[in-house]
Subunit: 297 residues, 4 copies
Amino acid sequence: MKIGFFGVGNMGGPMAANLVKAGHEVTAFDLVPALLEAASAAGARAVDQPALAVQGAEVVISMLPSAKAVTGLYLGEQGILDLIDPDTLIIDCSTIDAATSRRVAGIAADNGRVMIDAPVSGGVGGAKAGTPTFICGGPADAVEQARPLLECMGKNIFRAGDSGAGQVAKICNNMLLAVHMIGTAEALQMGVDHGLDPAALSEIMRASSGGNWSLEVYNPWPGVMPNVPASNGYQGGFGVNLMNKDLGLALEAALTSGSSTPMGALARSLYAAHANQGHGGLDFSSIQTYFRSRDAD
Amino acid sequence: MKIGFFGVGNMGGPMAANLVKAGHEVTAFDLVPALLEAASAAGARAVDQPALAVQGAEVVISMLPSAKAVTGLYLGEQGILDLIDPDTLIIDCSTIDAATSRRVAGIAADNGRVMIDAPVSGGVGGAKAGTPTFICGGPADAVEQARPLLECMGKNIFRAGDSGAGQVAKICNNMLLAVHMIGTAEALQMGVDHGLDPAALSEIMRASSGGNWSLEVYNPWPGVMPNVPASNGYQGGFGVNLMNKDLGLALEAALTSGSSTPMGALARSLYAAHANQGHGGLDFSSIQTYFRSRDAD
Amino acid sequence: MKIGFFGVGNMGGPMAANLVKAGHEVTAFDLVPALLEAASAAGARAVDQPALAVQGAEVVISMLPSAKAVTGLYLGEQGILDLIDPDTLIIDCSTIDAATSRRVAGIAADNGRVMIDAPVSGGVGGAKAGTPTFICGGPADAVEQARPLLECMGKNIFRAGDSGAGQVAKICNNMLLAVHMIGTAEALQMGVDHGLDPAALSEIMRASSGGNWSLEVYNPWPGVMPNVPASNGYQGGFGVNLMNKDLGLALEAALTSGSSTPMGALARSLYAAHANQGHGGLDFSSIQTYFRSRDAD
Amino acid sequence: MKIGFFGVGNMGGPMAANLVKAGHEVTAFDLVPALLEAASAAGARAVDQPALAVQGAEVVISMLPSAKAVTGLYLGEQGILDLIDPDTLIIDCSTIDAATSRRVAGIAADNGRVMIDAPVSGGVGGAKAGTPTFICGGPADAVEQARPLLECMGKNIFRAGDSGAGQVAKICNNMLLAVHMIGTAEALQMGVDHGLDPAALSEIMRASSGGNWSLEVYNPWPGVMPNVPASNGYQGGFGVNLMNKDLGLALEAALTSGSSTPMGALARSLYAAHANQGHGGLDFSSIQTYFRSRDAD
């Protein structure tokens, strides 16, 4: 298929490359020339104007860093929404607030276009390996139409509900991820403070009712698991700053609906403190170091 | 084998019954006559004095509700420690604080007896089904000696480390369980507050990085999963009051070691509020109702 | 002075009445006829079009419930900003987010008008008694110009800094208020749970290092202090829903600046749970009842 | 009066010295010779055996660091309880758990002695200046009997209730102190993150509903207030490790009574993290630095 792809950065770049690998014809646009060059090297056709990426596209995919960027791309002064063929499916993979997601999809619908939200869970590593999860919101038939393409880029494709539901489900998921990652880190540290071996304790909790994704595939204690950021100086992976962005979206959603989220709100404050203490660039499992004892000053 | 079994209540009763089923000769003692009768009906020999349960026992197992009960049984005025044959292995399955566990095992060792701690994770339902997890602390060879017996009563047998380590690992695990149960409950409520279907959201998070034991086998939202307390009016299962007991042990451990456990401490306060609001007798997944919107007064 | 007053509800009504009492000529506008009638009864001139309240006004004051209402009034299709005489000082007493406050004041400045933010702390009771605090943001000379008028309506007038600073200072204050109110409530309940008399404990903490505004003038335990909502079934005062609104503004501000606010975030989640449990209409000191033991279900 | 004084360290030393200044005859005992020498230099008679400090004493005062030390002094193998004249009033100023306090006082009562608990709030600085608060538990007439002596050492003398009530009230107070200190610190940082001046914001909150003891006399932002630890590199004052000890006592009390203390529990975890990050020796207002932004690593 002919695909117009907007945003080929850390996440979008590997996703576009995986579409190329699957045999699709990808035309890429990005504001950063170096990213466009990388996309070109990966087999995409690079263009220097948004309109050129829309031309002839059967599907338009966007992967942008903020709500402002998404509204700018589709609805801004040189917005592409009107240029997109009404038969073309629009898939926005950006993680943004659900309200904006619904608003842009609503305007698209008013103009006869179908747009779904399909934010990604699984990080940059997942994007490269083609294993992330896409969590979609929008009409069921549109999500089904998108599914084969999304399967070129990810492993699991879910439909959470109508427009915006993909965004809501993703931030619910990432809020819960932050909660059990911190919970795991503090449980491990407490065990070690009482003389336990972190690997033994990890295995016990993983196989018991404490089991969770962090213990299963992303253990935060250095050396317990190979090939995870914790065993590589907390480099790579899913950065603290990105987790903070998602937790911010989660808390905004909680404020909108008046929901009480004590665990998620605490997770956000702990990650914010961790970032402010200078660790925003590390992987989010580095919250383990927050609990570590240091020499007194 | 000949087993002296002390404490045949909600947990100990089914455990003793499973030992009988496996062909062991169980002599049971309990302060509550009705419990002893039930044990007798399940095939154990009931005795009305502790000393009689020790006589000839190759293994002594205790399953008691508090540290005070454990010290009373073994070290009290009519304590049984001195009556136990030095070759007899002592397995204390009670969930108590690690310090007491270490102290009693230490006194046993000073008197030439081997005692391990083997607290149970998995609740009353698990005890009946013979599927709970035993988390052991003590000498490696003693744990290996206990393993065949423990396997008659449970599915997974772990050794966490030396004496007391079983207790530490269990409360680390249960603290983490409380954290992800509450985190799951608040994430589900927030999703529903934004119009999502709780079953769809549960499935998405279960299969994504939010995945945890609560979503896997113990979903707190009524009707999402059959055969869990949430789908049965939060009856049965693992009570809020019992979770509070374990969270109390966890916080005491954190105070002892000076560990920071923000998530676990918050979980304890939320479960304490939930109990004080009148729900201590419900299953611990009833924390879901804490987040539910009610009519204004 | 001739004053155009917009928004004469729970807070604005008494404020306008106090200006009248002080001898000022107040022309009031509100979308709700009943409120306008009440303002008229209090001596203001009621008009049914915003433009009529601006005509001849030497000062324009607004007291509106949301950022949307403020932008609508000044910048909307029938916005009054352009109708205001350039020599007229604009005082917005609404509690809204600082970003909107700065934006509207900035547009006013670009159009040659001076606008300050002057949100109010002290509740409806304070507004009636003329005792609330005004926390101002804007040019120092404009705040000085506003001071005599504000002193007709309130007791303390502060300048927190430039445009928007009044909003920031107010939500910092109210976040801290929520924190020490909940902290006070849980400390009182814990003391009572251990047999202490709440009045004796209140007096001890008030006079010691636990001392705070809640203990000083707004004790949350029923009967400890006369003439506070706690001693009147938690009626009147500053509602839980209003506190939640301010805590929402505080958390949004924390997200904007990346600040870690663990206590404030927890306070917001506890107040949200309290509201969702049906108590949003009570005074915010009713959080005391959150901690009370109830009969088991 | 003739006073036997046990424990003349950071707190007890200045207290004994103030008794001497007031004209009392103080005989001091301590396990640390250097402390005894200092007490001697301050005018007390130093003795090297507990029994010698009891001889002829009309009042016995103890100021010890732990429950173990208190039980050891009064009830240990060489315990002094039996040596104390039945007419002699015993005042224990140590901060320990209420249960131990009640137990020791109960044993004293069984043996015909009257003992009150009178823990101190106000720190080392307060002890030197003679300005701390004594929070007493015990029979009303015994507290009245103690009052003139306590007034030689402190400014405010309160009776919280029966035996142990002084301990409960003190930890309620200090838990609340920790809560509003952290709340104050995070509010100040958030204001500064939005461009406000910390001194202006402090003054606004102090005079408004956010007002509390921290803002009144112990501002945590460096330079806002002279002569506080924050303006002296967080040296002196009331150490983080001591606050952690009191928060530990508070949480143990909450566990005993099943009270929910979300704010206090969070404060304890934040102070534990602060200590573990190497700042246990600083004044407790140094929690301000926890919220400060640092360069990224």
